[in-house]
């Protein structure tokens, strides 16, 4: 649904060049919720702004719903008519809501419809329908200043849906909200994704956002996508930073007399009592250093960090047993010796 290839954005100011995007290849499938996560300054904002060409990429192409947006040239920094039409079919939600303070909630939702040239009657019918959809039918005549943050973002979402978009871009939509409101907004996005078949590309710096609604995710660092894939693919990737961040585990690394192993469960393996089987089969004592279990994209997944007595060489057989059970095994402390290999595997 959204494809970028070789997307590069270089900002030039006063002779200095800053590369915000460095050859980003992104592929978002139709109907999925795709999360791009990264620290501030990683290039996430530039990426999402390049998707609807609010920022014109220095090089590379952007294709949304089969239409190559980068080919719809505007003169200079201005957008041509075709690009503006294409944009009206891409919804966008912002961190700071960006609602017009002088317009009522309903008039804010009607704004994109005014741009599309709908009549007053159609506009108001559609706007009220959308406000109903986001659960704000009773606030139509209120001004944004009278709403809470979560309500403002609901208005922002209703406005983004006014042009019947197939794609919704969310630029840190929940970053200015408290945890509870964040959950309700994410739930709304998830519902819209399911009900309307809306493809959602969101950027965030909160791992919880990815965990709770994303089907796929990508990790950005210094303008590049370091890892990407569906959440279960990522979890199955040895040494995946995203998987580790989604399920952070604490505990010391392996020493001379013990072996620390990270076990990742997903799918059927998550329901098997593997640890007690391991303990009984090999008659060894296992300490659990840390564990995290969660539901990601409707599937039970989890990670556990366990300690086995003795050095790695003495534990080859039990580790092999775990691998045979279909579990993802990372030996902590040893993986660090082959980082290059792990990175390649992650891509």
């Amino acid at each position: 649904m959204i494809t970028t290839s070789g997307l590069t954005k270089v900002y030039r100011s006063r002779g200095r060049e800053v590369t915000a995007l460095d050859g980003v290849d992104l592929h978002v499938r139709e109907g999925e919720v795709y999360g791009v996560i990264g620290r501030s300054g990683a290039g996430k904002s530039s990426l999402i702004r390049c998707v609807n060409l609010l920022e014109r990429p220095t090089s590379g192409t952007v294709t949304v719903a089969g239409q190559e947006l980068t080919a719809l040239a505007g003169r200079g920094p201005r957008a041509g008519k075709e690009l503006r039409q294409a944009r009206s079919r891409i919804g966008m939600v912002f961190q700071h809501f960006n609602l017009l303070s002088t317009r009522t909630v309903q008039d804010n939702v009607e704004l994109p419809l005014e741009i599309l040239g709908l009549s007053g009657k159609e506009r108001s019918r559609k706007a009220l329908g959308l406000l109903d959809l986001v659960g704000l039918a009773d606030k139509a005549k209120a001004y944004p200043a009278q709403l809470s943050g979560g309500q403002k973002q609901r208005v922002g979402i209703a406005r983004a849906l006014a042009g019947d978009p197939k794609v919704l871009l969310s630029d840190e939509a929940t970053s200015a909200l408290d945890p509870e409101t964040t959950r309700s907004i994410l739930q709304l996005l998830r519902d819209l994704n399911r009900q309307l078949g809306l493809t959602v590309l969101l950027i965030t710096h909160e791992m919880d956002v990815v965990k709770s609604i994303c089907d796929s995710a990508a990790l950005m660092e210094r303008g590049r996508i370091v890892e990407s894939g569906t959440v279960s693919e990522l979890l199955a990737t040895p040494g995946s930073e995203l998987a580790a961040a989604l399920f952070p585990l604490s505990g010391a690394a392996a020493g001379d007399d013990r072996t620390v192993v990270d076990v990742t469960f997903h799918g059927d393996a998550a329901t098997q009592p593997v640890i007690s089987q391991l303990s009984r089969t090999y008659n060894i004592d296992i300490s659990i250093l840390g564990a995290a279990m969660d539901t990601v994209g409707g599937k039970q997944v989890g990670r556990m960090r366990i300690e086995l007595p003795g050095r790695y060489e003495e534990n080859v057989v039990p580790v092999g047993f775990l691998r045979e059970q279909g579990l993802q095994i990372d030996v902590v402390g040893r993986a660090a010796e082959e980082p290059a290999l792990v990175k390649d595997g992650a891509k």
Binding site: L54, G76, H96, I115, A145
Partner: protein
């Protein structure tokens, strides 16, 4: 001078002042609003970014603003004659007043429009709006309270300038104060004129402030709440908490 002598003078002068200031305000707003918006749009990072156009417009505005009004009036005499057919009287005074006020108002518009949150512009662009849509639906409506304050400031400045319009025989309250009050030692008349001017200016300022504030209150801010308002909102809450305790 007795009141029956002063009264017709004063009412004629008040009317002349309002006439000159009224028309030149209308022209200043019509000319200054687009000029101020253009100054923002053509600036670096603006929607119509053009370094050359921005520099040229900026320089024209600066030169016009740096000129003392009395000099501007003389310098524009040729132009005034071309527009109104005369260089004397109320109509002739409106031309330099308006031309002096356009760049004045344009700078105020520029400041007001610059205050509009760039995120709103981005939102409208993301909806598929063009530059004209951005100006019409975002920049002007969102800056409206500030624009009204700017217009008020411009009217007050124009009343000040209009005192000098007496030099081209345009009349007005300032002219009365100088000719009768200062040159003929009619101190009483001068003070009455000053009082009328003070009342007129206060009324205009009050009306402008009221309009700007009521617009502001209706819309409020979608962004963070300004500090002053935050303090006001907290006071009753704090008082309530005190009582409860």
């Amino acid at each position: 001078m007795t009141w029956p002598e002063m009264q017709p003078l004063l009412s004629q002068a008040s009317w002349d002042t309002l006439y000159m200031v009224g028309w030149s305000t209308v022209i200043a707003v019509v000319g200054g609003l687009p000029l101020g918006v253009l100054l923002v749009l053509t600036d670096r990072g603006g929607l119509l970014q053009s370094v050359v156009a921005n520099k040229v417009l900026g320089q024209i505005v600066n030169i016009a603003r740096s000129m003392p009004f009395i000099i501007l009036m003389v310098a524009l005499m040729g132009f005034t004659r071309w527009v109104t057919g005369t260089t004397i009287g109320r109509e002739a005074a409106i031309v330099p007043l308006a031309i002096g006020a356009i760049p004045f108002f344009a700078r105020l518009v520029e400041t007001a429009v610059r205050e509009v949150d760039g995120g709103l512009v981005e939102a409208v662009q993301a909806m598929g709006g063009n530059t004209w849509t951005v100006v019409r639906k975002v920049l002007v409506p969102e800056a409206l309270p500030s624009l009204i304050s700017s217009a008020t400031t411009t009217v007050v400045a124009l009343i000040g300038y209009s005192a000098m319009a007496g030099t081209v025989g345009a009349g007005g309250l300032g002219d009365i104060a100088i000719r009768y009050g200062y040159q003929r030692f009619e101190t009483q008349l001068m003070w009455i004129t000053v009082a009328i001017l003070a009342v007129v200016i206060s009324l205009i300022q009050f009306a402008g402030d009221y309009a700007a504030r009521s617009l502001h209150r209706r819309g409020g801010h979608s962004g963070p709440v300004p500090k002053l308002r935050l303090l006001k909102a907290e006071e009753p809450a704090a008082a309530g908490a005190g009582k409860a305790a």
